[in-house]
Symmetry: C2
Subunit: 169 residues, 2 copies
DNA sequence: CGCTTCTTTCAGAATTTTGTGAACACTCAG
DNA sequence: CTGAGTGTTCACAAAATTCTGAAAGAAGCG
């Protein structure tokens, strides 16, 4: 038997399985706060062999309008998760997943921590640094500062590891 | 001058400053995906000296209905960010921020990584582990596995540091 | 028990978000 | 220039979300 349980050892893509993955993974991303269409486009790209698709292909596979593709693609481009490239000799754009998308997305996380830390310190100052609330907020700000540092180091370690793995190829 | 710029060195809370902080911080949390009312309640608790408030106080300071408080509080309780406690001798509940809320919230992040990794591995298997898409997804899953490990260690280091700081008191 | 005080639930109004269709804009090929 | 092939914008319809008031539900207190 070569059913879906034991994976795909054939050459051709099981489009139904792809669609299932795309929808499930997109749902996770949506739950985590990403816009629905952006999440679906992103997932579709992730599951594409080329790592890139045209707007038409996206509209087709996801059953959405060109307008929806446009919106999703704008979001993903602005947030630096995908790039747009033009196929030479044609008018068609391809939208391509950047390498290490997830790793760079996590870097952006870092910026969130910076902002939160800043606001907490301002808050602590406004409330009075020696009040109970002020103290609590300072401690929380310290945690965020710590996380920034650690996240940075973690990403460096990941880069090293990736570099090592690539050297083995 | 003792304006708001240079912090509050007086005893009494500058309620206007508190309100500003609450709204700003809540806005950040909302942008990061938290429900609006939950974010406001959470921020208000964070800025409260006692680290806890009654439903009535929350409704009052945030200008929202008891129903809204109820909803927000349910969400925060379910996600384990606050606890409910009854004031002895009264019928009033107090909602209290857990210690190290943020640190434990980050622990929950970890569960997200677990789920995402799992889905990616399933996806890679469904698409065929040796296809380009399958390979990409496996690599991404590896990143998430790595992040889980690192996040865990980071939180341990934070606990240690906290323990050390508390011992100094 | 019943009253009083709080909390929760629920239906609905208001708002916001989302996705579409259609018009518009851009770009290259001839 | 013109026209075909693509991408984007915008107004609107549909759907989801959010918050409220009102009513119902607990839980202590006399």
């Amino acid at each position: 038997m070569s059913s879906r349980q034991d994976g795909n050892r054939d050459e051709k893509r099981d489009e139904a399985a792809v669609a299932r993955f795309v929808e499930r993974f997109a749902a996770e991303l949506t739950a985590a706060g990403m816009q629905r269409m952006a999440a679906r486009v992103f997932s579709a790209l992730l599951a594409s062999d080329a790592g890139s698709m045209t707007a038409a292909e996206l509209a087709e596979t996801l059953s959405i309008s060109p307008a929806a593709v446009s919106g999703a693609v704008r979001y993903l481009t602005q947030t630096g998760m995908i790039g747009r490239e033009r196929e030479p000799g044609t008018r068609r754009d391809r939208y391509r997943l950047y390498d290490d998308v997830m790793a760079t997305a996590l870097t952006r996380r870092d910026q969130l921590l910076v902002r939160w830390e800043k606001q907490l310190r301002e808050g602590a100052d406004a409330l009075g640094p020696h009040t109970p609330a002020g103290t609590r907020m300072t401690e929380t700000a310290d945690l965020f500062a710590f996380m920034q540092q650690e996240l940075e180091e973690t990403l460096l370690r990941w880069q090293e590891r990736r570099a090592g793995a690539r050297a083995d190829d």
